[in-house]
Symmetry: C2
């Protein structure tokens, strides 16, 4: 079942990579809003129409690898021992993914910068995260044996993403001086212990 990647697959991946590279470069030099799909297509040597068979929206080029992360988090969550507390399981799952972030530091910071520059990319990012929240809440609901729309699983999923977002933002703002997993652990722990006495 190991697919030798045929020429077709290889070429498609190449093109995709070429589009991403060209787009990110243009975004950095002209700004996201100052760059048209036509320009990206030109720089990537494809027809403008073809762009949209690789990415559903212009924004998604910047957030290309977001989808994969959700899968990894949910996957991690499925691997956690059932005896573990939901919050502990969430914490462990997110820390694993945060470690990946540290690995791809340069690339991610690049994309974050573009996101910070453009309102529409940021909006799209939040929209995707909202989808993650749904998936997480569902996974937690299953884990906790709830059939119904549970307020608790929602709150847990939402709080976890809050911890992640806050950590990311601080990580970027401080020039990645503290490793991201450390920040994530810290945020998760604060939420674990309660916010009552903070500040």
């Amino acid at each position: 079942m190991i697919d030798e990647p045929g020429l077709r697959q290889r070429k498609k991946l190449q093109t995709r990579t070429r589009i991403e590279a060209a787009a990110l470069d243009l975004f950095e030099r002209q700004g996201f809003d100052g760059t048209t799909v036509e320009e990206i297509a030109g720089a990537a040597q494809i027809a403008p129409r073809t762009f949209f068979s690789y990415f559903p929206t212009k924004e998604d080029v910047v957030l290309a690898d977001y989808a994969g992360r959700l899968e990894r988090i949910v996957e991690q969550l499925g691997d956690r021992p059932p005896a573990e507390t939901p919050w502990a399981a969430l914490r462990a799952s997110f820390v694993v993914v945060a470690a990946d972030y540290d690995t791809q530091r340069r690339e991610l910071v690049r994309r974050f910068r573009i996101m910070a520059d453009s309102a529409s990319v940021h909006a799209r990012s939040l929209q995707l995260q909202s989808g993650w929240e749904d998936a997480l809440a569902a996974a937690l609901g299953a884990r906790m044996g709830d059939d119904t729309e549970s307020l608790t699983s929602r709150l847990l999923a939402s709080a976890a993403l809050s911890a992640m977002r806050s950590s990311q933002r601080h990580w970027i703002a401080t020039g990645q001086t503290t490793p991201l997993p450390t920040l994530v652990e810290s945020c998760f722990d604060q939420l674990a212990d309660g916010l009552a006495d903070l500040g």
Copy 2:
């Protein structure tokens, strides 16, 4: 300094209301994406071009009163005694606004339904909430005497909005059987006491 609302102001408000009414009606009948600005303008008896001098985007008609709520929350936050814990101050502020929600129940449920139907309205809502988070984090930072970009104030603001969103969603999903302020209090308390033992 009490402005007697001149004819000008009154007319403008009327038009705005007429646009909102026409738009919401069309959205409910044809779906958000199935309704064009041209149609809304026609139904509201204005020129299409005029629509955009009342609302910056089509999405904003659905979220028209969002802006006011942030102001009220930040205002409430400013009125809380400085001795109070940040989280306690946040809780109190949000509960006040949640009470307003209960008052305007019918209208809000209408708008929430449209938002649930349309991905772009939902995205826009998240974007606006992100702006609130910035404002809240700044207000908390000031309250706590932080000059710097503080991880803690971010986390508090973000967690507060998570509590609000989760409560709202549950409120809508359960047909508003439990009053919203009660749900909000419950979520804030769970975050205050810590998520470690939940589930």
